[in-house]
């Protein structure tokens, strides 16, 4: 039976509505800008509706629409300036964030306790786009490795290695934020002590 345009719109809207907030959040992490994020989702929705006849009902709409979002981002929003120096695997192998200690609160536990929402968001948004995409899809949005591989059109092994490196970069950034904050607080306290009569 041929679907009318109104039926198609209704079906599309029903599938899209539960994903809109996730699409917006992901767009925001990718573009790092609310206005661009809204535009990116709007463009995604337009493309998805245009291609909706080719979407096989009953399959994974969430992964399908996220794939359109990430492709649109890469084609239209991702600029060369987003490319940064990415440390090699060998360099990152040397960096170990979590080190077990014998007892008591570890510096890592203290760090986790001191992190704010802004720290986390800043660290995610500072990731190079290849890693950011995988981190957002898997760690934030809860896609499986297989789904992330399909969304980004890359092999699952690449998802795993980008996720591993993304995690290490995140840990490094968060560690640096915490250390800088602690240093700054210590200096402030020392300054206050000197000024006190």
């Amino acid at each position: 039976m041929v679907e009318t345009k109104e039926e198609k719109k209704r079906d599309f809207q029903e599938l899209l509505d539960p994903e809109l907030a996730s699409l917006f959040r992901t767009a925001l992490r990718m573009t790092r800008n609310r206005e661009d994020a809204e535009d990116l989702v709007q463009e995604t929705v337009t493309k998805a509706f245009a291609a909706f006849d080719r979407f096989e009902r009953g399959t994974n709409f969430r992964a399908w629409v996220f794939r359109i979002l990430t492709n649109t981002y890469i084609n239209n929003y991702y600029r060369v300036r987003d490319r940064r120096n990415i440390p090699s695997l060998e360099e990152m192998e040397e960096e170990s964030f979590f080190q077990p200690v014998a007892e008591g609160i570890t510096p890592e536990e203290a760090l986790l306790n001191s992190l704010t929402k802004d720290d986390i968001i800043e660290a995610i948004e500072a990731l190079p786009v290849e890693f950011r995409a995988v981190v957002v899809l898997v760690l934030v949005e809860g896609f499986s490795y297989k789904e992330a591989a399909e969304i980004l059109d890359i092999p699952m092994g690449t998802v795993m290695s980008r996720l591993w490196r993304g995690r290490k970069l995140l840990q490094k950034s968060l560690w640096e934020y915490s250390t800088q904050r602690n240093d700054s607080e210590r200096k402030n306290q020392e300054g206050w002590t000197v000024k006190k009569p």
């Binding site: 345009k5 719109k9 599309f12 809207q13 899209l16 809109l20 907030a21 996730s22 917006f24 959040r25 925001l28 992490r29 609310r34 809204e38 989702v41 709007q42 929705v45 337009t46 509706f49 979590f98 077990p100 200690v101 570890t106 890592e108 536990e109 986790l112 992190l115 929402k117 986390i120 968001i121 995610i124 981190v135 957002v136 898997v138 760690l139 934030v140 949005e141 809860g142 499986s144 490795y145 795993m160 996720l163 591993w164 995690r167 995140l170 840990q171 968060l174």
Partner: protein, 75 residues
């Protein structure tokens, strides 16, 4: 399972990507008696929860939903 193997598979375990039940049980068995790997697991798990919680905590402007609804209405 030794520590090296447990730590190599830790992220797969955290991400619920280990398909084999016996592998999952081996990791859980190792984490039960090895405090060092247990500590790493707890920290990684806590960090992952922080990332998920904060990464999903953005306020979506109400105007955004109506904007998208209007876009679809115009198709």
């Amino acid at each position: 399972m030794d520590c090296k193997e447990a730590l190599e598979k830790l992220y797969l375990y955290l991400d619920h990507e280990i398909l084999s039940e016996s592998e999952r049980q081996q990791i859980e068995g190792h984490l039960q008696w090895c405090w060092r790997c247990q500590q790493v697991y707890q920290l990684e798990n806590n960090l992952q929860n922080l990332i998920r919680l904060n990464g999903r905590n953005d306020e979506v402007p109400p105007s955004f939903f109506s904007k998208i609804k209007n876009v679809i209405a115009q198709f």
